[in-house]
Point group: C2
Chain length 233, copies 2
């Protein structure tokens, strides 16, 4: 198991600029808390104030809850990701570990205050926030206008980009999330997700190994299935 110091060091090297003074590092250390989460456990965080989370190691999902126990996965996160947990509004949000996780949490407001003198940290925060927004917008298009097959294809391509291991022309994936998580992320049911996997397998575009292993055999064809725009203007 990681110690608190390891997790914090990981944060320092990944988020803070190279030559940050030791007194600044100490300041961030006083603000942050190290949390270890076993698979399927959720992070407890204050409902009324935003929290900044750095995922040192592992994989998580951000889930929004509506009435009637409906759940929507808003985003998946992997080692090295930085994310902001919003205060609860019209809906409530939870961050749940897909596999064993180490993370550092910071009260958002205090973190921002500490970062004010270091615009490199601010810039990085802004940059990562922009990436999150960009991903969220792609998801909006996917959920609003795409068929089940297109959604699953888009999902696989997106995962390939983030956690794929290239192997010649193939891309190998080890999906840390269940079919249910995928369904909740794509606005589908597990049955429909499963059927699309079968379809893609039958068409020779992917190969599956066990529950979590997926190999993308023809990325170009998947791109077509995902409903992405061709080169044209």
């Amino acid at each position: 198991m990681h110690t608190c110091t390891d997790a914090f060091d990981c944060f320092v090297s990944r988020v803070l600029p190279k030559r940050t003074g030791p007194e600044t590092v100490r300041l961030f250390r006083t603000l942050g808390s190290h949390v270890h989460l076993k698979a399927d456990r959720q992070l407890h965080y204050p409902e009324d104030e935003p929290t900044l989370v750095f995922l040192c190691d592992g994989a998580t999902k951000l889930v929004a809850h509506a009435s009637d126990h409906r759940e929507q996965v808003l985003a998946f996160h992997f080692t090295g990701d930085l994310l902001t947990l919003p205060a609860h509004g019209a809906h409530s949000y939870t961050l749940e570990a897909l596999i064993e996780c180490d993370l550092m949490t910071f009260p958002y407001a205090q973190f921002l205050q500490a970062a004010e003198k270091h615009q490199q940290v601010l810039t990085q925060l802004l940059e990562r926030s922009t990436v999150s927004l960009q991903r969220s917008r792609e998801k909006t298009l996917t959920l609003g206008r795409k068929s089940a097959l297109e959604r699953v294809s888009s999902f696989l391509l997106s995962m390939a980009e983030r956690i794929g291991r290239g192997d010649g022309s193939e891309v190998k994936l080890d999906l840390p999330m269940s079919r249910r998580d995928i369904a909740d992320s794509l606005g589908l049911t597990i049955e429909t997700v499963s059927r699309q996997f079968t379809l893609l397998r039958d068409q020779g575009l992917i190969r599956t190994q066990g529950r979590s292993g997926v190999t993308l055999l023809r990325v170009d064809e998947l791109d077509r299935r995902a409903g992405h725009l061709r080169v044209a203007a």
Copy 2:
């Protein structure tokens, strides 16, 4: 018609910190361009680099385009909003005027560089980006897990919050977007959107005046229809 100076002044007073030095103001002026857009026109911007836009006056929609001419409205913007137009990736994006608009555009990278010495500007950019992300996440939940009636109710409540004019217990709206835009924003068809309006009207929750006028008569009931979580934990 507004002059360039008017639009820029609007930007200065709304985005830059109160006591920004005149030389800094001049720097931003050299970076920014004033653009006037008539209704239904779209902003032309470079495809390969992100652009920052400040909406001095008017209303716009950000549209994502997938294959087969399918369109998804990612967000609506109103007077005073600041938004980032991403470089094109798997999909292309356009910003279109819903009504006559005045806006200031800045090359994102250069704007960020200019803002580096003024963390108040950075902080504001970050804050607005966070609000956009929050809205986008709410939209994700809406598109992924809500029924047509819930989507339209959520939409009306969201518009009430942003451009509603309170009038006792009622909220009056003058919607600048068409039924098609609403449909493209909610992942529905115009027919379905229209049917939900009729339903809400028949149930006495809203009143409509012409094409764009809507009065929310019972916000509490709309909240229930929108599938928001009750107080409970």
